[in-house]
């Protein structure tokens, strides 16, 4: 029998209010308590309270925390979200679990969606100093270099984020319409590879 996608890997209790928090991945590092909005840092089986985080202001979105959706033949459960501001607006990065317990990231910005997977880094953080838009690196061309500011998070995440933290990124386009993103923030450099997806292909379940 297939396991329910909403079945958590394990459940912990909020050290502040005792509320049961579902964790969907073993390497979850940060969770927000749905009950008291405490930020809980998870380290070596221990749950450490890092303070309170503001609740994300509700915004209209196809993707909602803990509400499954289908993209083509795959079902996804959004388990966490980070919202970044670029001044006039914001974009969101959703941490997803699929029905094979694999993790994905979905970037949502005004109807533009990119579905990506975390891959091992092949570049160094110093690339952010030298790279320019339009520059070609192998089969990739740099299409965007920008930064955002974390304005909040929800659910659970695989690394620590702090409100107000700057988030630098480089976006590359590939010849086969694929996309690569390099991100750097105090928690380190991360590389993601994926594809643009059509929001009309998303079916909220």
């Amino acid at each position: 029998m297939m396991k329910d996608i909403k079945t958590p890997f394990k459940t912990i209790n909020c050290p502040q209010c005792g509320y049961a928090l579902p964790l969907y991945f073993a390497h979850t590092k940060l969770a927000q308590c749905e009950s008291c909005n405490s930020s809980i840092f998870l380290e070596d089986e221990a749950a450490r309270l890092t303070g309170y985080s503001s609740v994300l202001a509700p915004e209209p979105s196809l993707i909602q925390l803990n509400k499954t959706f289908r993209y083509k033949k795959q079902t996804f459960l959004p388990v966490g979200v980070i919202r970044y501001s670029y001044g006039r607006g914001f974009w969101e990065e959703w941490w997803l679990k699929d029905n094979s317990d694999d993790e994905w990231w979905l970037s949502v910005d005004e109807g533009d969606m990119v579905l990506e997977k975390l891959v091992p880094n092949e570049d160094k953080a110093e690339i952010f100093v030298t790279i320019k838009v339009g520059q070609t690196l192998g089969d990739w061309i740099v299409t965007e270099i920008d930064r955002g500011e974390c304005v909040g998070f929800g659910g659970s995440l695989p690394y620590e984020v702090i409100e107000g933290q700057k988030h630098n990124y480089i976006q590359f386009d590939g010849y086969d319409a694929s996309i690569k993103t390099l991100e750097v923030d105090p928690s380190g450099l991360r590389t993601y590879i994926g594809r643009w997806i059509d929001p009309f292909d998303i079916k909220v379940l």
Partner: protein, 467 residues
Amino acid sequence: MSDTKSVYSIKCTNCAAPLEIRGGGRVTTVTCQYCNSVLDMTAEYKVLSQFHDKYRPPVPFKLGMVGEIKGVEWTIIGWVSYRTTDFPTERWSEFFLYSPLYGYGWLIYEEGLLSFSKRVRDFSLLKWQKDGSSKVQFFRKSHYRLVEEPYDIEIDFVQGELSYVAKADDLIRCWDYDGPSHKSITIEKSGHELEAYQNEKLNRREIYDSFGVAKDKQVDEKLGAVDSMFDEETLEASDESRRSFLGKMAILIVVMILAIGYSFVSSKALLQIDANQPFTQSIRVDSSAFLSKIVIKAPTPKILDTIKLDIYNGATLIFTIDKSNLYSKSGYIGKTWDKGDDEATIYMKLDSGEYRVALGLSSPLSANDKVKIVIQEKVMRLLYLVIVLVLLFISVLVSYKSSSRKESSEAKSSGKSKYLWWFLAVLFGYFMFGFGSMVFLGAFYLFASNIGSANSSDSDDWWDDDE
């Protein structure tokens, strides 16, 4: 996404007119409806440029209208009017749409024809550039064909919010690719920007109703050159005609399959004799449908070479075969058997009537050496049916391709398709039911084509002509 969920107002920094902002976080400019100043929303609404004295085309849509396209609610937040550089009188408007859930899109309006356009990020522009903007593109499991040579367009008029800085007379180079299901792709190149859009024709009535366009503002007329690009009026009609076309095709194939099945039980033996001496026998052909089949079988090739078979209609020799000759009064039907053969099969057309079959032998046969003569009527040659089926299959493919393409040559190809259909029908009728049916179909075609041409002035639907 926008930090603000609802509409808010600002004052134009040039003329102080109130401007409503509706369009999410990615809009960068707003053009004042009163003084036509383009304001930079990323730099305290600084005036970037102006669209003074620009032609404001009459359109049925206006900023702030809300309507549903593809099941999603969109708000019109901006308006750009374009003209082509080669034909500056050719103008159309594109309305910038915003949905908090689906982002941005465009409602394209051209002389009453409507389509929806959305930027597609998964079209590989890098590959497109690398391939030298080739004439056929493959995108989302479909092929798209370049409609015409690339052309240049200019921005003519701007109003409301946009996600880029529009300047009067900005030059944009476009490549249009037509695909299936009323979809197309447009590649736009301007300055340093290169973008791909997927377009889809819309039902005009539904969009007018959904956006609340007043009846007296709804434009129905189409003009000249735009018809071939955005022939929205025939959108439903062409869907219907394609369904009708495929339905009739399916019926025809079913009829053919039934005919093949029928042929196996319909054939009737007129003569079946094992002979070792000459004979003359009368036969009667009841039906000229399908073909008649003559089989001559001998124990050895040497014996077959002694045979001469004649068929007479009254006193007229209509068929004869021996080791040297094969003759048919109705025309060439092939050559006689080869040396070494011990059997010959001939298919020919015999009209209904009385016939006399005469077997001759150039040397007598022994009592044990008998030749078998079989004559059947209403026999169908599967080879002919296979040819007709292949032709039908090709015609389906050609017709389907041509109907899915919205090229201006569609009328011509549908005309060709019409003749192909009649040709196949006549061919089919001839093989199935004989010469009489061919004459009947020919006469019916002349009758029906007169009705068709009378109706064609009332309808744009090419299928009407075929009927």
